[in-house]
Symmetry: none
Subunit: 225 residues, 4 copies
């Protein structure tokens, strides 16, 4: 879970961008996300976070003023990572823009997305932001922006190209993207019981294929077989 390579205090780091200060901050944010994910916002104790990060409690407060601040930054950092993963997955579509039949490419995309959405991070993020949606409205909005709206927009771009190139029928690309993602993630939430259970790779693939199948029936030209 904890992802940051916290080299010792004065760490001579490989790529040179991290100061030890920044490293410790990242370690704390990572630990915080882990603990918040485990317990929820209110039940998580700052002590537990400090322990998880391997620092003393006041150190946490030195780097991040508040429990609230801690939460915000931890969640946002995680959302950023997720956003990057999602965008990367969508970008793969670009490389396969000239396949004659988009089914294979879309299926690959769907599987990638499914894996991300069922992952630890995405599940935790979903739980946390649903939970605190009313108290941290802006935060929840920001996360939805990064984990849903922007990936959706990126996908819409790709679909618009497919539409232009005649591989999909003319349509509102935003809406199409929304439907694509809904067809994929909706059933996944059911299978994973809201991220509570792991989804076996087979089920994941089956869901992805079914989603793509319906999507293409609705959005491909003649209404495919």
């Amino acid at each position: 879970m904890s992802s940051v390579e916290s080299r010792g205090p004065r760490g001579a780091d490989s790529r040179g961008t991290d100061s030890p200060r920044v490293n410790k901050r990242k370690a704390i944010l990572d630990a915080a996300f882990t603990v918040f994910a485990r317990r929820g916002y209110a039940q998580a104790g700052v002590q537990e976070i400090a322990d998880e990060a391997g620092v003393a409690k006041p150190t946490v407060y030195n780097h991040l003023t508040d429990k609230e601040t801690l939460f915000r930054y931890a969640v946002e950092a995680s959302a950023d990572v997720l956003l990057a993963e999602l965008l990367a997955a969508v970008e793969h579509l670009r490389d396969r823009a000239d396949d004659q039949d988009p089914r294979a490419a879309l299926t690959e995309l769907a599987v990638r997305l499914a894996r991300i959405c069922c992952g630890e991070r995405a599940s935790a993020l979903r739980r946390l932001t649903y939970a605190e949606a009313s108290h941290f409205t802006d935060l929840a909005d920001g996360v939805q922006e990064r984990t849903a709206r922007r990936p959706l927009a990126a996908l819409a771009d790709r679909l618009a190209r497919l539409s232009l190139s005649g591989q999909l029928r003319p349509c509102d690309p935003e809406q199409a993207a929304g439907h694509f993602l809904a067809l994929l993630t909706g059933p996944l939430e059911l299978q994973s019981r809201r991220g509570t259970r792991p989804v076996p790779d087979a089920g994941l693939r089956a869901t992805a294929e079914a989603a793509v199948d319906v999507f293409l029936r609705a959005y491909a030209y003649g209404g495919e077989p």
Copy 2:
């Protein structure tokens, strides 16, 4: 806000069995759901619940042992109500089983469902169960059962009939129902910002129509226009 049909104090209900004891219990559960929905599980105080219910704190403990128990019963009661509403909406389909074209009926269903899903109760329930999914696994499962799986199964029944009667192509009705619901609720979550913002009736209807349109393109016979 107050939801569970709290008939007046000594309420003359259909079958007439309510003792004042039972009434007070309902009042407490209602208050509990309201407060939990407002604050989340951990942030909700038993005192606040007692105040909302108009009783003293120990009275709450007299009726429901624990804060945890209180939560479970409150959530389950609310899930039961939601289940009833959802099933009722699905049942309406039955009455229109012999329309030649299912579009109108499905659209009506979609709109009904959308209204329910965007309502206070459904949003609150979603927030609460996502939040506590890891701590109250069984509870979360039970809620998903009632707010998703069973309505889905009921819808699958209807779709199966439509398929048999030739209004839909042959398909796995469970899967079709899953897709139908996903196409509807996925975009709604985006619009309502996870239930944080109200969705205007127009947007709600547009979303429903788009969902039905895609659904029919994919599941109707020839691939409709």
Copy 3:
């Protein structure tokens, strides 16, 4: 130090004015004053106060919202007691209004006042209000009102009578009272090292007599011997 007769919980009290609730509150306020006097405002811990009062920490918070509130009420209660003592001492002068020579009466008064001013309560109150004069301005003002201004006014009344009856020369009675008290308490502060050391009864009496002597030399008619 602790003065409240905390009869058991349901205590059937002699004079009937105290509810058990009120009793516990008094016990807490007494304990608070004791501890604040011992440690000062900031160094005093609520835990220590609770222990001194023989209750649990939250009970303290149940009765008195804050540490600050606790402080205010404790100090004010103590100031009230002190005010009563001081006024009582001044009232004694009334009974001796027709002595021909006021020296004896004034000396008795001076001794009484000196005893009070050197007592535990007065010293503690002086320390506490000096210390927090800048943070609790209003409180400090209220205390000065009760421990200085009002006793001074009462004394001024008495002196005005003496002046009218020809035992003192015509003068501004407020100013005379101020001088009387200053002549008494100024030297006492020096002797008691700001209330840090006990003042033996002899020194106390000597100081009182010297104060009265100077006072009469300045305020009696012919300038006494």
Copy 4:
């Protein structure tokens, strides 16, 4: 507010040769006094003192071991300054030793003293030492020595001269000095509300004149008009 000539620990530097080391120490002590005066001992933070002095926190610890040590030195330095001011005021009397009537000289002295006693430094010092009288007994004693006993002794010297030269009646000069100061400062404490409010110059002068008047009535030969 600014500085105290506390030459460094061992510093017997004859005149003005402050090393930078000594300068920084002075800056810190000054800042400390300012902050302690503002907040009180316990509420004052070492960080705030460091900020006020324009140095980093560890630097404070480098120069002055402890918060306690810091307090002691800061307070003592300030008391030294005050002592010097008070003694200087008293010394002025010497120059007017041969006035026939001491009233003018004493009044001038009283006004000078009143100004000092109502000043920032004196008020702060009074608050701080009253507050911590029980915890820093020795410190409080030292301060009283410098701000009360020694000025009083110096004044007693002067009064003894006046007595010898027949301008005052025979008396115990220490006691007379005590009464003089009490008549002056007692009423001032009332007017300034324990140093909380500024005293206008007129009130200050009136108080001084009243004090001298009473003093002379009591201590001058025939009992003046």
